[in-house]
């Protein structure tokens, strides 16, 4: 099984017309071609490279990672003498990916990276997550290397980045017992040791994914006497330097293959990344945006896995003399699952393209920033819905451990929690809601479609006008929530509905744009146009009744 080549939609997004520009930006107009044997000559060659590597990754995901997933879930990692050992399947997954040279996907070539754009990186994460979401969390942590590449000194980059390619694992050590969503309260102490001329860490981190990693990015309080985010700096800690032990690993509901650890740092030597005081406000925020897109990718991988499990079961299970896929209530579930997957995926690759173009355009950077929380919010909630529906399609069998859907259901649950809960994604979206940035983006989609749609494409025009109505209804919802007589509380109560409405509308538009290249996206586009109308009508009724 190849989890890339068996899913035409991935190739569809890898060959999106804007990928030519994405590749040109990533390759600095192909300046490296001729100086490095792996550097492509042009966009076409670059996209061919992405395609070749996704095919390799798809093979490994389908033939190694997916078959290991059930055992890894059952066995999990173990802790002995302060050190974590992965489940055998996890180790095999890692070794296969390392030997295949796939680590360091987005790193520059001088650090043995593949120099791939974010679009390819999120696609890799999606493919791996379809095989095993728990393993995808470990894989995704290589994004820590991007933070080192972006903000650390050249000396640190030279020393540590080539190790990513060799398979050094990473962790992002932010959370503490009293600092979860509120990272400004981080207390782990960093002090400068004049004698040894290095920083040292003292304190406890908790709920650290892959906590016994080789390389750690640690958020710590470097400025004594401070108690907010401006007193925090970011440090690179190498496990080989000692000073850290794993106190425990958590017994979790899902993603059981991924060790979640509590860490004790005792005079652990470390390196400062970038400048002091910018740890949370600049570096973590940057890492966090990447991580949120990464969780979006994990969620979509899980959505896809749930769709396939449900579709296969519905086709083979017979009741009342026919396969259950022929019953309308089952079809409705399968249609909704497919539409959620299509919608979240279209939104994610659109966002990833903006992230890639952000390097050269402020406008692209702003669009990437407003779309990222919508991706995380919708994709992770959809993963949960798809996992729920997947079990529902399976009926009683889905409640049994024998079927993969039970694991998907447990694995999905963390997605709307870690790297910022759904509620925090709404908070992140509020600025774009209040300043009209989302509406401006929607206007662009609308005018692009009006130009591109053939006049005789009746179905598409119907969808477009439904989406136009949904935008009008959204404006009414926004006005009601922020009208005179409403309170700040009401706006906050409505914020989630506003964000969810926007996500639905944008998915409708994006899928309609996709349908210009492939008509099969039309059905999911229509689904989201209909859902936008009904969802916003409900939210509007609720908000208006709260005003009475």
């Amino acid at each position: 099984m190849n989890f890339y080549t068996d899913n035409d939609k991935l190739s569809f997004y890898l060959h999106h017309p804007e990928m030519a520009q994405v590749a040109a930006v990533k390759e600095h107009d192909f300046a490296e071609h001729g100086n490095h044997p792996e550097a492509p000559a042009n966009s076409e060659a670059a996209v061919k490279q992405y395609d070749a590597v996704m095919t390799l990754l798809g093979d490994i995901a389908g033939d190694v990672i997916a078959p290991n997933a059930a055992d890894v879930d059952a066995q999990g990692p173990s802790l002995e003498n302060g050190r974590v050992t992965y489940a055998p399947g996890t180790r095999q997954n890692l070794d296969t990916l390392i030997q295949s040279g796939l680590y360091g996907m987005t790193l520059q070539r001088r650090y043995n990276g593949l120099n791939f754009p974010r679009v390819a990186a999120v696609m890799a994460a999606e493919i791996i997550a379809r095989a095993d979401v728990g393993f995808a969390t470990l894989w995704g942590l290589q994004d820590c290397a991007d933070t080192i590449q972006q903000f650390a000194s050249e000396e640190l980059k030279q020393k540590y980045l080539p190790r990513i390619y060799q398979g050094a694992t990473c962790s992002m050590d932010l959370t503490e017992p009293d600092a979860g969503s509120d990272l400004q309260s981080v207390r782990l102490k960093a002090t400068f040791d004049e004698a040894a001329n290095c920083w040292r860490l003292n304190g406890v981190k908790r709920f650290i994914t892959n906590g016994d990693a080789d390389l750690h990015l640690v958020l710590a309080r470097s400025e004594e006497g401070t108690n907010d985010g401006r007193g925090l700096s970011y440090f690179l800690f190498d496990r080989a330097d000692g000073g850290m032990t794993v106190r425990r690993i958590e017994n979790k509901m899902g993603i059981k293959g991924s060790p979640t650890a509590e860490l004790q740092f005792t005079n652990a030597p470390c390196h400062l990344i970038g400048e002091r005081r910018l740890g949370l406000i600049k570096y973590v925020m940057s890492l966090m945006n990447g991580a949120r897109l990464g969780v979006g990718a994990q969620s979509i991988g899980l959505c896809e896995a749930a769709c396939r499990e449900a579709e296969a079961y519905a086709a083979s299970r017979e009741q009342f003399g026919k396969p259950i896929e022929r019953f309308i209530p089952v079809q409705d579930m399968l249609t909704a699952m497919r539409a959620r997957t299509d919608g979240a995926r279209s939104l994610m690759y659109e966002t990833a393209r903006y992230v890639d173009l952000a390097e050269t355009s402020k406008a692209a950077s702003r669009t990437a920033d407003i779309l990222t929380p919508l991706v995380k919010l919708t994709a992770s909630e959809f993963a949960n819905r798809n996992a729920y529906d997947c079990i529902q399609v399976h009926g009683g069998s889905g409640f049994m451990k024998e079927y993969a859907c039970e694991r998907l259901y447990r694995d999905a649950r963390i997605l709307s929690i870690y790297e910022g809960t759904s509620q925090l994604q709404v908070v992140a979206a509020i600025k774009g809601i209040a300043n009209g940035a989302y509406l401006k983006l929607i206007e662009q989609y609308d005018s692009r479609l009006r130009e591109a749609l053939a006049t005789d494409n009746k179905q598409a025009h119907t969808i477009l006008s439904m989406l136009g109505e949904a935008v009008d209804a959204y404006r009414q919802l926004y006005d009601a929530a922020s009208s005179q007589g409403s309170t700040d509380d009401l706006f906050e109560h409505t914020a989630r509905s506003l964000a969810e409405s926007l996500a639905r509308i944008i998915m409708g538009y994006l899928l309609l744009l996709d349908s210009l290249r492939d008509e099969s996206f039309m059905a999911s586009s229509r689904y989201w146009a209909e859902q936008s109308l009904s969802y916003i009508a409900g939210a509007l009724t609720l908000t208006r009744s709260r005003l009475r």
Binding site: P37, E38, A45, K48, Q49, A52, V53, L56, D59, I60, T96, Q99, S100, G101, L102, N112, L114
Partner: protein, 267 residues
């Protein structure tokens, strides 16, 4: 140990796991255009054994040779992305229609054209022909010792290999002098995946195509001309039992079954 020059013989074959309704032409020949192709599975295992040997003797090289149409270059690129150093396709209309005799002759000529070679690995057999003849015939033509059904290399000695052979009931260990030819069975270790960096270097690389003129072959011994095998008829055989009989696990019932099978000339 001195570095080794290793050759792997490989074949691009129809992917029999994905055979559609249009796989056969009406005349009983294989409709190659309708079939996706793959690296012959046991040849991939041979490649892995060769790559492992290369890694255990620093400075060694692996060259992959295949005979086929120009598109067979795909498996040379694939082999290079997995770690082979180079390779070429014997591609010439004069090779076409070859049976195992003519094929092994062409491959033996190609190997001879490389000068001294220490070890030749190939899959036991290809999934399209299932003859298992080409490897041994190449060894004979080159007057080399051969070990068939190899499962693993137990030890790399000074100018020798100790090899574990998979037999029907168990395995045996044999030591052979190099140069030699080894055919590798499906019980051997799976081939490693391509390396992404090598993939980017070689996925679009030109693979040399070599004609019959470049390998010093006697043209009369190539292709259809050099092939004594004549195919009389190819038939699609569908095995279907009409009825089944359950035999109890008693000495009497089993003796009865044996007698029936002897009577019907099955045993």
């Amino acid at each position: 140990m001195k570095e080794l020059k290793i050759v792997v013989l490989a074949k691009q074959v129809p992917d029999t796991r994905n055979v559609g309704a249009d796989a056969m032409n009406a005349d009983g020949t294989v409709n190659r255009a309708a079939l996706p192709t793959v690296f012959n599975p046991e040849d991939l295992k041979a490649l892995e054994m060769a790559l492992a040997l290369k890694e255990s003797v620093p400075g060694s090289t692996v060259t992959v040779i295949t005979m086929g149409p120009p598109r067979a270059a795909e498996i040379i690129r694939d082999a290079r992305s997995r770690g082979a150093d180079d390779g070429f396709v014997l591609s010439d209309m004069r090779f076409a229609g070859a049976d195992t005799l003519a094929t092994s002759y062409a491959l033996a000529c190609a190997i001879s054209s490389l000068g001294h070679v220490d070890a030749i690995f190939c899959g036991r057999q290809a999934i399209d022909g299932d003859t298992a003849q080409v490897g041994p015939q190449v060894a004979e033509k080159l007057s080399l010792p051969q070990v068939a059904y190899a499962e693993s290399i137990h030890e790399v000695g000074d100018s020798s290999l100790t090899i574990v052979r998979r037999l029907e009931r168990g395995s045996e260990m044999v030591r052979m002098q190099l140069p030699a030819l080894i055919t590798v069975t499906s019980a051997a270790k799976d081939c490693r995946y391509p390396n992404a960096h090598r993939l980017l270097r070689f996925y679009d690389d030109e693979v040399p195509l070599r004609s019959a003129d470049t390998i010093g072959a006697d043209l009369e011994r190539l292709g259809l001309k050099g092939s004594p095998t004549k195919v009389k008829k190819i038939e699609n055989v569908v095995l279907a039992h009409k009825d089944a009989e359950q035999v109890a696990a008693t000495p009497e019932a089993l003796t009865g079954l044996a007698q029936t099978l002897i009577k019907e000339h099955i045993l």
